[in-house]
């Protein structure tokens, strides 16, 4: 182990942590865009009619689109000199990965949003508040999925690990390095699951104490 630590470059840890910050940045951007698009689709679905049908079809398509393929599509199908409203519109690597995750995040938000709005309409704020832990879960899925950026050269956490692994001579050393990566990704993920569980319990307690959820308040 100490031999491995000697072999790891002194910049490894700061680079890896900076790379992990990129994973969180990508996930945050994808979730923010997904929340905007997902809620628009959720409202359209609940509105019904033509808008509802179009929204349902769009959600089904987005649910089926694989992130990795969408990422390569965005990378290769958008011309380098593309313009939007007269302005240059070249996506950075980070934005390419973030936007490739939007179909997943928007369809997830739309599905959870429709469920939450229905629960709210039926007089069940607790059911509606389940939207928050669901979104937290989606955020951590997005953090893990953002490692796809390694395939297009985005310097996120996994890219840093893979570049460092190239300098290690034995498979054993590489496996230990990969294990370090799993631990570093695992800590925020498992902490997130614990946070989600606490949030769920807290919301349940808060809502059940609230007089607004008494059976008599139902229409």
């Amino acid at each position: 182990m100490s031999v491995l630590i000697d072999r790891l470059s002194s910049e490894f840890l700061p680079l890896f942590l900076a790379g992990m910050a990129i994973n969180f940045e990508i996930a945050g951007t994808a979730l923010a865009l997904g929340l905007i698009l997902g809620f628009l689709l959720a409202f359209a679905r609940l509105y019904g009619g033509v808008a509802g049908t179009v929204a349902a079809s769009a959600i089904a398509l987005m649910r089926a689109a694989p992130t990795f393929v969408v990422m390569f599509f965005l990378l290769n199908a958008i011309p380098r000199d593309a313009t939007l409203f007269g302005e240059e519109f070249a996506l950075s690597g980070i934005m390419t990965v973030a936007i490739s995750l939007v179909p997943y995040s928007a369809s997830y938000v739309a599905d959870s949003g429709v469920e939450a709005l229905k629960q709210l309409r039926d007089g069940s704020p607790l059911g509606a508040l389940l939207f928050l832990p669901n979104v937290t879960r989606a955020f951590f899925v997005l953090v893990m999925s953002s490692s796809a950026g390694a395939a297009i050269g985005v310097v996120e956490g996994i890219t840093v690990i893979l570049r460092q692994a190239e300098h290690l001579p034995t498979l054993g050393d590489k496996l230990v390095l990969f294990a370090i990566g799993i631990v570093f990704f695992g800590i925020p993920l498992q902490a997130g699951f614990v946070l989600m569980s606490f949030l769920h319990s807290y919301l349940r307690r808060t809502v059940t104490r609230s007089p607004a959820v008494a059976p008599s308040s139902d229409p």
Partner: protein, 210 residues
């Protein structure tokens, strides 16, 4: 785009390899799900905890890293070939999604045990009941495994994404190529969603009557 013989050959092989990869990933996910579900739902503490530790490890590893680890281990044993790359990808996708689906099965086993109406001795009947109860989760991870198959190109598996990337490097029509790729995978995933829906119905019908 596909007018030359090498391009057509790459495209054809890419499609065949993609279907092999999808079939393999679905089978591996199902097999690992059953194994992890049985292990985590077991009354043997050591077996249960070991399966739980493997599940947490797999959940904590981004899929790209899991693929790289699977490829590194496979190449340590076998010389590099496209078959080995596809095999490693199938194992990685199956393990990742199977562990998660297995966790859902084990939670269903525990919930059935906690219910008064559950069969007291457990066994096969309990396990089949748990499969029915966790059918939605199993199907979700089967679909997830299918959606994950293009990532296999990262470790050199010659599936359609990899083939079309090669084709676009020496032929024209890059935008058409990637439109074709996006449509192909979206349609395939939708077909798998439909197929999995049928499996879910079958599993739900096999639930133990309360």
């Amino acid at each position: 785009m596909l007018k030359t013989a090498p391009a057509w050959s790459l495209f054809k092989n890419g499609i065949i390899n993609t279907f092999i990869l999808i079939a393999g990933a679905l089978t591996a996910t199902l097999v690992f799900a059953l194994a992890f579900g049985a292990a985590q739902g077991s009354r043997l503490r050591l077996l249960r905890w070991s399966a739980r530790a493997v599940t947490i490890t797999l959940q904590s590893s981004p899929i790209v890293l899991t693929l790289v680890i699977a490829a590194a281990l496979a190449h340590a044993v076998f010389p590099y070939s496209s078959t080995v790359a596809i095999g490693a990808a199938i194992m990685a996708l199956g393990l990742t999604n199977g562990a998660n689906a297995g966790q859902a099965i084990s939670e269903a086993i525990h919930s059935l045990r906690a219910e008064d109406s559950a069969p007291p001795a457990g066994g096969l009947q309990l396990f089949v009941g748990a499969l029915g109860r966790s059918a939605t989760q199993i199907v979700a991870f089967l679909v997830n495994a299918t959606k994950g198959t293009p990532v296999a190109s990262f470790i050199g598996a010659p599936e359609l994404l990899s083939a079309l990337t090669d084709i676009s490097s020496f032929s024209s029509g890059r935008v058409t190529t990637y439109w074709l790729l996006l449509i192909f995978y979206t349609v395939v995933v939708m077909a798998v969603v439909w197929l999995c829906g049928r499996i879910r119905l079958f599993l739900e019908r096999s639930r133990v009557p309360a």
